[in-house]
Symmetry: C2
Subunit: 329 residues, 2 copies
């Protein structure tokens, strides 16, 4: 049994820098025709020069593989002149609401300072990508932020806003309320709940932000993904950390899924009789929502047990040592 995917896209990806970039970029490029590249480096990608340098480093790491890095900038105040110059090099600007504290009112207040730049982005047709969490109790952070999305969507009706890596039923419901809201969802949030992280032994390799939520949340995300909800896109949020930063006393957040995402998605969609929806979920929706045309690239999978490696270099993938019923051809 074979499966062909046309130009699959990963709409939320961390590629890191230097040695880690060289390890993980080819793994994404083996599966995907392109990916939206997160800008949260040290220092963040927030200038034309850093953007160009990062793009060059990614292209070098990918080598001859067909792979379009859809670059993003780290949100700060940008002048209209800057945005005009940068616009053609990016797919959007990523907002990490650092000032967002304790409740959504404060979130809105902190965002008010950002509104002039957001207004310029709306005028210039630059999408806003948002890590939508407050600093509330860890299980409440996404839901507490939803009112900020609600307000942004109303206040900037022509702005395209992506709720990144949604994890709750209420976030799925919010998609219905505003035409200018869309969302990405990860592989791991379709598969796990807090139980998988902490219900038996604690598994640091499933620790991520936003944290995996309740069974009813996963169910809502899964139903939306399996139906290829027209405003939902696959974004792995694949986030590599070396083993030494995961199996330790202060474990970094992030699940590494890039090399296994398509086989595991195929397995999941097949199990639910929804393989016919996978193309839209991993490419069609993103092309339509962002108005992008990725490089032509056919990725083939076949039905064969694939043993997930214990590690890719220093990085332990999700389900390391396990198996998946589909395999990249």
């Amino acid at each position: 049994m074979q499966l062909q995917l046309e130009s699959p896209l990963d709409m939320h990806l961390h590629l890191r820098q230097d040695d880690m970039l060289k390890i993980v970029a080819p793994l994404s490029a083996a599966s995907f025709a392109g990916a939206v590249i997160m800008p949260n480096l040290l220092p963040p990608v927030d200038s034309a020069e850093r953007l160009a340098n990062y793009r060059r480093a990614i292209d070098a790491a990918v080598g001859d593989l067909t792979f379009e890095p859809y670059m993003t900038l780290f949100f700060r105040d940008y002048s209209e002149g800057e945005l005009l110059t940068l616009r053609e090099h990016i797919i959007g600007i990523k907002l990490y609401p650092a000032g967002v504290t304790t409740n959504s009112d404060a979130g809105v207040a902190a965002l008010e300072a950002a509104e002039s730049t957001i207004g310029r982005m709306e005028d210039l047709g630059i999408p806003l990508l948002v890590h939508g969490e407050t600093n509330d109790f860890v299980m409440d952070r996404e839901e507490a932020f939803l009112s900020v999305y609600d307000r942004l969507a109303q206040r900037f009706p022509r702005l395209q806003i992506t709720m990144e890596h949604i994890t709750t039923r209420r976030a799925v419901e919010l998609l219905e309320r505003h035409d200018n809201l869309r969302a990405t969802v990860t592989l791991h949030h379709l598969l796990i709940t807090l139980d998988d992280l902490a219900g038996g032994l604690l598994n640091p390799h499933l620790f991520c932000k936003p944290i995996a939520k309740r069974p009813e949340d996963r169910q809502a995300l899964l139903e939306a993904a399996l139906a290829a909800h027209p405003r939902l896109m696959f974004g792995s949020d694949s986030a590599p950390h070396p083993l030494s930063s995961k199996e330790c006393s202060g474990c970094a957040a992030g699940v590494f899924t890039a090399p296994i995402a398509l086989p595991m998605l195929a397995e999941l969609f097949e199990r639910h009789g929804a393989l016919d929806k996978l193309q839209d979920f991993v490419s069609g929706n993103a092309q339509r929502l962002y108005g992008i045309t990725p490089p032509p690239k056919v990725v083939r999978l076949h039905k064969e047990e694939f043993h997930i490696p214990a590690a890719y270099g220093p990085v332990v993938p999700m389900n390391a040592g396990g198996t998946v019923t589909w395999c990249l051809s």
Copy 2:
């Protein structure tokens, strides 16, 4: 500034066996006049011989220190003859409801098989100590079990039932409903929520079962402890694991607090102006509820910054490397 505690008791303690026992037993005996010793060894403590052997090993590990190990048996079907023989050597029998699955109805069903032994315990005045969790979603497990406590308390009105290591507001509320229910609460559940485990970096040394819950749960536990609620007792659930079982891909549940519990409790109760309630919380309530008279032992603390060690042998304590404002004299 000095604080004297008369015969402080730890009403829920894991001492393990062999080398670990030799490391941790003296640390508990340095702070406490006695402790209720959990029987979940491999194999479990469920016979007169194992009970006697374990007691002997504990006494040997404690050496010359004044320390009464209040022994428990692991729950199984016990005949009346067995219970009559064992009764004088134990403070109670600990039930880990292994058959409890997915919901409290199943929990009750699984417990029905246990009811003849529980009935004998009631008749003989042997307390029942319970790990009250179902196999539901990890944040719901204790609340889902409360209906089992409710039923047990009604069905066996003369049975003394201890809800071990309670973690939720609703468990505190349930204490009001039945005179024959009492509870232990740990130090860590008075201090942390799921945020401390997983809200920032993931901290495996704060991973425990039951998992730390929500801020409103901690608040309810704290209010009950600070008031020395007459049916609430301190039980550390101090559970030592070697570092290699904590900072790894499958981290064992347990927080090690035995050597720092009294200083941290003094700090906590002082901060809330409740130092006058500490004696009842760490000894008086337990003496009254179990009808025990621990060996006379005055434990003195003084106000001095204590630097919590990075490890006690192979075991990392809670707040390793941090400080606490009270110190054992």
